[in-house]
């Protein structure tokens, strides 16, 4: 964890990335400890991918301090790259080659012998359940299979740090759960995972600690539980009203919840005891169409911190 005395695997201070006049990452600070699963959460365009690309040494740092595995990406990119695995947002598989050849040639890029690359390729194909597709072309594979192949490929050099940029975007639930399962196993083996996502359940499943990014800055840091405690309540009461029937006078909610959010057809009340809040409102004569008490989630934290408006 962050409080560990071990030196950070990734250390960033004032890390900044600019493309011309546009600032993609604005002076962010974070540390990732060995063995930790660390997430970057944020809406599209928040700067997550730019950050991960700098860690992966494929995008030069504009300003600030960044060390990866104790090395400087500007001076030692090849040494860093030889010890990390990367799952990029867009697949970069070789369409001309077979599934197995994709792994073997990637192993060759890391200077493995052909025999060793072949041995690891067979092992990894079993690990991601693609053993039966070893000889098929990449093109006809489903999105989930391609993603699994990309993950297998990122592991060919047995990395101690794995960078995953939106690993499960665009996948069906079955494929996502299989991937989470595989990533969890890697984590148990001691591989440090750094991932970006905008799926809250993915962050809750996989991350020990995460940062929420918005508009190029880090707006919150902590474990999923800490973030929920800090930025939300234990429970949320969701009241739905028929169109135009929502209470016009918001004072009816006074004193019931620590925070009230009024949306066009719903009212969200953030309270530690949702049922109690519901019964108070019932006593005050409020009759919503539906009433639902649920536990607070990371999604509530996310929406509170980054806002509900669409980012285009």
């Amino acid at each position: 964890m962050a409080t560990s005395s071990e030196p950070a695997l990734i250390h960033a201070r004032g890390l900044t990335k600019r493309f011309g006049a546009f600032t993609a990452v604005d002076a962010i600070d974070f540390d990732v400890a060995p063995g930790e699963s660390f997430g970057f959460l944020g809406p599209n365009g928040a700067g997550k991918t730019s950050t991960v690309r700098m860690i992966g040494c494929v995008s030069p740092v504009t300003e600030g301090v960044l060390t990866v595995l104790g090395l400087d990406p500007a001076a030692d990119s090849s040494r860093i790259k030889s010890r990390i695995g990367v799952v990029p947002q867009q697949d970069t598989l070789d369409m001309e080659l077979t599934v197995r050849e994709n792994l073997v040639i990637y192993g060759r890029y890391f200077d493995l012998s052909r025999r060793e690359a072949g041995r690891r390729a067979d092992e990894l194909l079993e690990f991601v359940q693609l053993g039966e597709r070893a000889k098929s072309q990449v093109e006809p594979l489903s999105g989930g299979m391609k993603r699994r192949l990309t993950i297998a490929r990122s592991l060919i050099n047995e990395p101690s740090l794995l960078l995953l940029d939106e690993p499960t975007t665009g996948l069906d639930p079955q494929a996502r759960h299989l991937l989470w399962d595989r990533l969890y196993r890697l984590k148990q083996r001691g591989v440090t995972l750094v991932l970006t996502t905008h799926f809250m359940d993915e962050a809750e499943q996989l991350c020990d600690r995460l940062v929420v990014m918005d508009k190029a800055k880090i707006v919150a840091v902590g474990s999923p539980r800490e973030l929920i405690e800090q930025y939300s309540t234990r429970e949320v009461l969701e009241l739905r009203f028929p169109a135009d029937a929502a209470p016009s006078d918001a004072s009816i909610f006074d004193g019931v919840a620590s925070r009230v959010e009024q949306l066009p057809d719903r009212v969200l009340l953030y309270a530690d005891d949702g049922e109690a809040a519901a019964s108070v409102l019932h006593d005050r004569g409020l009759r919503p169409e539906t009433s639902l008490v649920r536990r607070s989630s990371l999604e509530d934290v996310f929406l509170r911190l980054t806002g509900r408006s669409l980012i285009e």
Binding site: G56, P88, T92, I105, Y106, R108, F110, R153
Partner: protein
Amino acid sequence: MTAALRVLEFNAMGYRRVWRGTLFSTFLSPVLFLAAMGVGLGTFVDQGGNGALGPFSYAAFLAPGLLAGQAMQTAGFESTYPIMGAIIWDRTYFGMLATPITVPGIVFGQLGWMAIRMAMVSTAFFIVMVAFGLVASPLGILSIGVGVMTGLAFAAPIMAFAATRKNDQAFSMIFRFGLTPMFLFSGTFFPIERLPARIQLLAEILPLHHGVALARHLCLGDAADRSDQVVHVVVLSAYIVAGTIAALITFRRTLVR
């Protein structure tokens, strides 16, 4: 440079799947060209000849020029669509750059692979020329090397250009307005001395003429003036070096952001 060798290996791995198909066309093309233009048209030219070609048949005059021209065509293909594919369509280069492979590794590996392709095509062409009895000098074998140099003189600058493109629209322009006219007016089919002075000058600035002239002198064994040969080698080398430097710059600009 290990990185370049790995990039070369990647290309070879993909080629392994298609080599049988290309082998046939690699030999077929010189046979067709030499049969039609060398023997067919050549018989016609030689009969009406005024001795402009000296003691040589038109086919022997034409063949080394076609060898260089073919290397240029191969370069034109290899340095456009596959490069765009690896940058934009499949993003293969980005996959490579996540590993210890570097941008110079990609550029030199890709050029190395193209040199091998050009050597294959030129060797096939040379074998067919020997079979047709069109090589007068043992030095003719060096024309395979000339084919490689000529090819690289095109491949390096064209791949530098290809890396700056977002789509493949410009590529057909390169063929239509660049390579095809050059193929016709660089001394391949007739000596450039027959061209108007200005166009002759243009032909002398562009690389193909130098590959054609060099290959021709080597195959015919009529290299009277050594300094001419040096000029040909220097011009081709200049295109290769300048193109490679340009490719290192444009590849870095496109691949590292």
